[in-house]
C-alpha cells in the first residue's frame, strides 16, 4: 500500500460546526430566559432563606432555591433534579422547534451533567433507614437517585434515541457535558443533542456535608451572602437549577431555517492532577488555552468571560491568576463576571446555567454583573463588572468551570447568529 492511498484514506473532512438552537434555564432567578434576563438586568440575587426544607438545625440556612411557582406540580414522578432538567429541556425544545428537527431519532442524543444526582430521593431514603428506623425505602429510590435519571427522562420525553448518558465532574459536570455533546456532533456520532446539567443539592444531608468543609457563606442578609472577588468574601452559596441546550449541526439548522442563537466553538478540558480540593491556576489556564485553540480564537477577540467565581477564598484569586496568565495585558480589558453572585453555586448545573445566562444577556446587549462587589480583593484586579450590568456585547466568550477533584472544563462560545461566518 502506497503512502498516497493512506493519505487519501485518512484525509480529514472539514469540521462540522455546532449550532445552539434552543436554550432552557430554571434557577433561583426564575423559570425561563425572560425571568433570568430580568434578574441580570436588575442585578438581583436569587439567594433567600431556605423554604423547601426545615433548616432550623443547620448553620447555613440560605440557598438558591428555585421559587416554588417555577416548578411545583410540574413533571411529577421524578427526583427534583430531574424535574428541573425537564423544565429546562421543555423551554429549549420549544425554542428549537424540536418537533421539526428532521433528524433520525438514532442520531439525536442527550448528555446531562450532574454533580450529585437525585439528592432529594437519597436523602429521604437515608432518613427513613437511619433516622426513622424503618426497614425499607421507596421502590423508586434507585431509579430516581441515579445520576443518569435526568438524561434518561429527557431522552425518553423527546424520543432522542442516540447517545445518552450522564457526565459527572463535580462543579464542572455540565460544562463537560456540553463540550462532549459538541464533540459528538463534530465527530458525526450524532446530528443533534440535548446537552446541559441539573442539580438539586439543597437537602439537609448535603448542606450538612458542605458545612463541614467550612466553605459556605452563612450571612444574615441572603442576597448579600455571595461576594465573588470581594475582599470580604466568605464562601460559596449552594443553589439548585438546570439549563439545557438543543445543539445541532449548523448545516441542519440552516437546512431547516431554524434561527441560530450561538455556536459552541471550542472545548478545553484538563485535570490539575494536583490536590483534591485546592484549585490550581495552571490547570485552569491550560483549559482556557485549550478551548481557545480548539475554537481557533485569538485571545484578543474574547469579549467576555463568565468566571467560575465561586466566592471561595481559594477559587477567585487562583482563577484571576489563571486569566492573567492566558490573556496577558488583554486580561484587564475583558469584562469578567461571576453570575454565581446572583444565582449561587448550582454544583454540576453551574456551567450550563452560566452559558445560558451569558447567551441570554449578551444577545440582549447586556454584560452580566458581579453583584456584592464593593471592595475587591487586591489579588482580584480584573474588570469584574461590579454591581451593575453594563450595556455591551461580545462575539466570543468563555465560560469557566472548575470542579473539585481538579477537573476543569472551559467552553468557548460565539454569541448570536452565525449564519454567514
Amino acid at each position: 500500500m502506497t503512502l498516497s492511498i493512506l493519505n487519501s484514506q485518512f484525509s480529514i473532512p472539514p469540521r462540522r460546526r455546532v449550532a445552539i438552537t434552543g436554550i432552557g434555564i430554571v434557577s433561583c432567578l426564575g423559570n425561563g430566559a425572560a425571568e433570568t434576563l430580568d434578574a441580570v438586568r436588575n442585578a438581583r440575587s436569587g439567594i433567600r432563606w431556605l423554604e423547601s426544607i426545615d433548616a432550623t438545625q443547620l448553620s447555613c440556612r440560605i440557598g438558591g432555591e428555585v421559587p416554588a411557582p417555577a416548578h411545583e406540580g410540574l413533571h411529577r414522578g421524578h427526583d427534583r433534579f430531574t424535574r428541573l432538567a425537564l423544565i429546562a429541556a421543555e423551554e429549549a425544545a420549544s425554542q428549537a422547534n424540536f418537533s421539526a428537527l428532521g433528524i433520525d431519532p438514532d442520531r439525536c442524543g442527550c448528555l446531562i451533567g450532574t454533580g450529585l444526582g437525585g439528592c432529594e430521593t437519597s436523602d429521604a431514603g437515608y432518613k427513613r433507614i437511619y433516622k426513622e428506623g424503618t426497614t425499607r425505602v421507596m421502590p423508586t429510590t434507585i431509579p430516581w437517585s441515579m445520576y443518569n435519571a435526568a438524561a434518561s427522562a429527557i431522552s425518553t420525553k423527546y424520543g432522542a434515541k442516540g447517545v445518552a448518558y450522564a457526565v459527572v465532574s463535580a462543579c464542572a459536570s455540565s460544562a463537560h457535558a456540553i463540550g462532549l455533546a459538541a464533540l459528538a456532533i463534530r465527530s458525526g456520532q450524532a446530528d443533534a443533542m440535548f446537552a446541559g446539567g441539573a442539580d438539586a443539592p439543597l437537602t439537609f444531608g448535603i448542606i450538612r456535608a458542605w458545612e463541614s468543609m467550612r466553605v459556605l457563606a452563612a450571612d444574615d442578609d441572603p442576597a448579600r451572602a455571595c461576594r465573588p472577588f470581594s475582599a470580604d468574601r466568605k464562601g460559596l452559596v449552594l443553589s439548585e437549577g438546570a439549563a439545557v441546550f438543543v445543539l445541532e449541526s449548523l448545516e441542519n439548522a440552516l437546512r431547516r431555517g431554524q434561527p441560530v442563537l450561538g455556536e459552541i466553538l471550542g472545548v478545553g478540558a484538563t485535570s490539575d492532577a494536583g490536590h483534591l480540593t485546592d484549585p490550581s491556576a495552571d490547570g485552569a489556564a491550560r483549559a482556557m488555552r485549550m478551548a481557545l485553540a480548539d475554537g481557533s480564537i485569538d485571545p484578543r477577540e474574547v469579549g467576555y468571560i463568565n468566571a467560575h467565581g465561586t466566592a471561595t477564598l481559594a477559587n477567585d484569586a487562583t482563577e484571576t491568576r489563571a486569566i492573567k496568565a492566558v490573556f496577558g495585558d488583554h486580561a484587564r480589558r475583558i469584562p469578567v463576571s461571576s453570575t454565581k453572585s446572583m444565582h449561587g453555586h448550582a454544583m454540576g448545573a453551574s456551567g450550563a446555567i452560566e452559558i445560558a445566562t451569558s447567551l441570554i444577556a449578551l444577545s440582549a446587549g447586556v454584560i452580566p454583573p458581579t453583584i456584592n462587589l464593593d471592595r475587591p480583593d487586591p489579588e482580584c484586579d480584573l474588570d469584574y463588572v461590579p454591581n451593575a450590568p453594563r450595556a455591551g456585547s461580545a462575539q466570543y466568550f468563555l465560560s469557566n468551570s472548575f470542579g473539585f477533584g481538579g477537573m476543569n472544563a472551559v467552553v468557548a462560545v460565539r454569541a448570536g447568529s452565525v449564519l454567514s461566518s
Partner: protein, 82 residues
Amino acid sequence: MTRSELDARLIAIVRKEKTIPEDKLAPETSLADAGIDSLDALTILFAIEEEFGIHIPDGRARSMKTFADMADAVAAELKIEK
C-alpha cells in the same frame, strides 16, 4: 375490616399513586391493561404496605398480575376472609 372495605381502601391507594380510569379498576383487570408498569406496581405495593404496616413476600409480589391478586395478597397478610 371486611373484604369489601379492604378493596375500597386499596382502590383509593392505587388511584392516589396513579391516575386510572374507572372502567380499568375491576378486580380481574390486569395491571398492565390498567397502565400500571412494573415500577408503578412496586410503588403502589409499597404504599399499601406502608398503609397497613405489612410486608408482602417477594415471591407473592412478583406473581401479581391483576388487582384481585394484589387484594388477595393483602387480605392474606391481614387475615381477612373473602
